[in-house]
């Protein structure tokens, strides 16, 4: 059952991702992206990360996607464009490179997987943390202790992005060309 669901979600996620790139209208791309994000949330559920799945649906598939949709509609960007991708020699090259990478991953993953994050100590540590503090606590606690630097740094990153966006988007205040 789990395997069937996983294949379903994985296919929808990958198909949606392809749709984002290949879609001609920004709105269609956006809806494909919602499908991808929702399928990833489904995969999180299969991994028993229910809190992550809920956050994924609420924040990404919900809030951020709606924001994107608003921007596209407000700026009237929802027209069809001619396809950006030209299926010439380059697409053949891109496909072969993708295939090569996929094949490499496949051969590597065919080996028995030793204990990394995929299993062993790290996984059991996560299980223990979830059992002790609950799913929210297991994420929130390290966020403000072990990873507090990363958390604060994300704030700096967002500030820089806002300053950068404002600088580039602010209308010019009637200054004329310099001589």
């Amino acid at each position: 059952m789990t395997d069937v669901l996983f294949v379903l979600f994985a296919v929808v996620a990958l198909g949606g991702a392809a749709g984002v790139v290949l879609g001609r209208s920004p709105v269609a791309s956006l809806l494909f992206m919602v499908a991808t994000l929702a399928s990833v949330a489904g995969i999180f559920v299969l991994l028993e990360a229910h809190f992550l799945a809920a956050v994924q649906v609420m924040v990404y598939a919900g809030a951020i996607m709606v924001l994107f949709l608003f921007v596209i509609m407000l700026l009237n960007l929802g027209h069809d464009y001619r396809a950006d991708l030209k299926f010439g020699l380059w697409s053949l090259l891109a496909l072969s490179v993708s295939g090569l990478t996929g094949g490499l991953l496949w051969t590597f993953l065919a080996d028995p997987v030793p204990a990394g994050a995929l299993g062993g100590a790290a996984a059991s540590a996560i299980d223990a943390a979830v059992a002790e503090k609950g799913a929210v606590g297991a994420i929130a606690d390290p966020l403000f202790t072990d990873y507090v630097v990363a958390f604060e740094l994300t704030g700096l990153l967002l500030l820089v992005a806002i300053v950068a966006a404002v600088v580039l988007a602010k209308p010019r205040s009637g200054e004329e060309q310099e001589c």
Partner: protein
């Protein structure tokens, strides 16, 4: 004082220079809000310089702080502190050559200087980081600030083009980097570099995820340091960006990427040296050959310096491939000298262009040396240093990198480095030849455009002094660099990994 990160306060101490610079950068932003007249642009620049000076003091104070162990997320080691000097000096020189430019181009001064300060914070975080997550966040902070700086002159379409190209390819590269980090995390079960190294050594890391992860990470960083074949964005981005920003991109931004790359390769991925060695070997060789050969045919000085910066990236990659202490010290020394030399050369380009984007064609330099002997002499000095002429800092930097490569028996790379350096003499000396040997064309009225700003003279003299000092008496600087890499690669039970 010894830091063990038992309380959050220790993070604050360990990141003191970053905190000072970040708060100061916000102060510059706020000072710009209350700005009423247009004449106060230079004052914001001087304020940013004062903030950088405060960060430098904090960085010096950190030498008296030690950490217990070498596995914490934030490193307080001399490698980081030396790199911080490079970033602070690079940012300060960039701001100094921007003062007149920003006023003349009527750029939004507060945001301009604040973004430079924030980008410098990102670089310092990258250098301090022992965790791939922090590396990524720091690199993104640097990149986003620099995308905006490259597109900063909104009256110049080339600036917008530069920003957009840099942004699209930079975001693409960040994707590679992040995917690589995710795969490495999957293999090793941690993003901490020491934990990754231990997992690789114990054989606990899944090779099936580690190797593709390493390959993607190397690809991402190759984009960031504009190594061939991932260099396509560099010439356009460097040519279109405002000239002081180009100086910053070619010097400090590149140094930050190299410092992070070095720490990741030398500490975290040392166990898979045999896998990344051939990849980086070919990238280094291709970068040196392509960068130098294409630079020969450039007619714009900014484009020529862009390809020259690609070529210098190749020389620095040789130090990474060598992966021993001599090469690591050479890398730090090289980054310092290269940063100073590059900003010095761009200071002359800014002056020749009269604080705008004019006169970037190399032909425009004809006869310039005789009209402005001081500028001409210093430009010649910087070009000779970039080429690696004996007696300049650039020569000693190449010498130390070559020494590291020789210790690692990289004879072929060594040959490529020397031969491509000989090629580089052609295009560097071509500019000097135009300046001193060519007459300005008949009828061309060369407007001198007022006096050279005071700050640019200071920058030129400082850069020229450092280039000569590191060239003639490199002892102190190389000793500092060698002291800075001690312990970087010896963290497991006091032994250096052998290749």
């Amino acid at each position: 004082m010894t830091l063990d990160y038992s309380s959050s306060f220790h993070y604050l101490v360990a990141l003191l220079p970053e905190c000072v610079l970040f708060v100061g950068g916000m102060g510059v932003l706020l000072a710009g809000v209350s700005k009423t007249d247009e004449q106060r642009r230079p004052e914001l620049g001087w304020l940013a310089l004062a903030v950088l000076a405060a960060a430098a003091v904090a960085n010096g104070w950190l030498y008296s702080v030690s950490e217990s162990g070498a596995t914490a997320m934030i490193a307080v080691d001399k490698f980081r502190l030396f790199a911080n000097w490079v970033f602070i000096v690079g940012a300060a020189l960039t701001i100094a050559i921007s003062l007149a430019y920003v006023s003349r181009q009527r750029l939004q001064a507060a945001e301009y200087y604040a973004l430079i300060a924030f980008a410098t914070v990102g670089m310092m975080v990258v250098a301090a980081s022992r965790d791939l997550m922090i590396v990524f966040l720091g690199m993104e902070t640097v990149s986003i600030a620099v995308y905006a700086l490259a597109a900063f002159n909104r009256r110049d379409p080339r600036s917008a083009e530069a920003g957009l190209k840099y942004f699209l390819l930079g975001a693409f590269a960040s994707g590679f980097l992040l995917f690589g980090i995710a795969l490495i995390y999957g293999a090793a079960g941690s993003t901490n570099l020491q934990a990754i190294a231990v997992a690789v050594q114990d054989g606990a890391a899944a090779g099936g995820l580690m190797i593709p992860g390493m390959a993607l990470l190397v690809t991402g960083f190759a984009f960031k340091v504009s190594a061939v074949p991932f260099h396509m964005w560099t010439p356009d981005a460097y040519e279109g960006a405002p000239t002081p920003v180009t100086a910053y991109m070619a010097s400090a931004v590149k140094a930050a990427a190299f410092v992070a790359f070095a720490r990741i390769l030398f500490v975290g991925l040392d166990g898979v040296y045999d896998q990344w060695f051939p990849i980086l070997w070919w990238i280094a060789a291709a970068t040196m050959v392509v960068g130098n050969l294409v630079a020969v045919v450039q007619s714009s000085i900014k484009r020529m310096l862009a390809y020259s910066s690609i070529a210098h990236g190749g020389y620095l990659l040789v130090a990474l491939v060598a992966a021993n202490d001599a090469a690591a010290a050479g890398l730090l020394f090289y980054l310092f000298v290269y940063t100073v030399t590059t900003v010095g050369a761009f200071a002359v380009v800014v002056t020749v262009g009269r604080q705008s984007e004019r006169d970037t064609a190399i032909e425009k330099y004809a006869g310039y040396g005789w009209r402005r002997p001081v500028l001409g002499t210093l430009m010649t000095l910087f070009l000779l240093s970039l080429a690696g002429f004996p007696g300049t800092g650039g020569f000693m930097a190449k010498f130390y990198v070559l020494q590291g490569a020789a210790e690692a028996h990289l004879w072929w790379l060594l040959v490529v480095l020397v031969l491509t350096t000989l090629v580089s003499y052609w295009y560097y000396l071509r500019v000097a030849w135009f300046m001193w040997m060519k007459e300005a064309p008949e009828g061309a009225v060369h407007r001198v455009g007022g006096a050279t700003p005071f700050a640019i003279y200071v920058v030129l003299l400082v850069c020229g002094g450092i280039v000569l000092a590191t060239g003639l008496l490199p002892g102190a600087a190389i000793d500092l660099a060698q002291g800075s890499v001690e312990g970087l690669r010896h963290w497991v039970a006091g032994t250096a990994p052998a290749h």
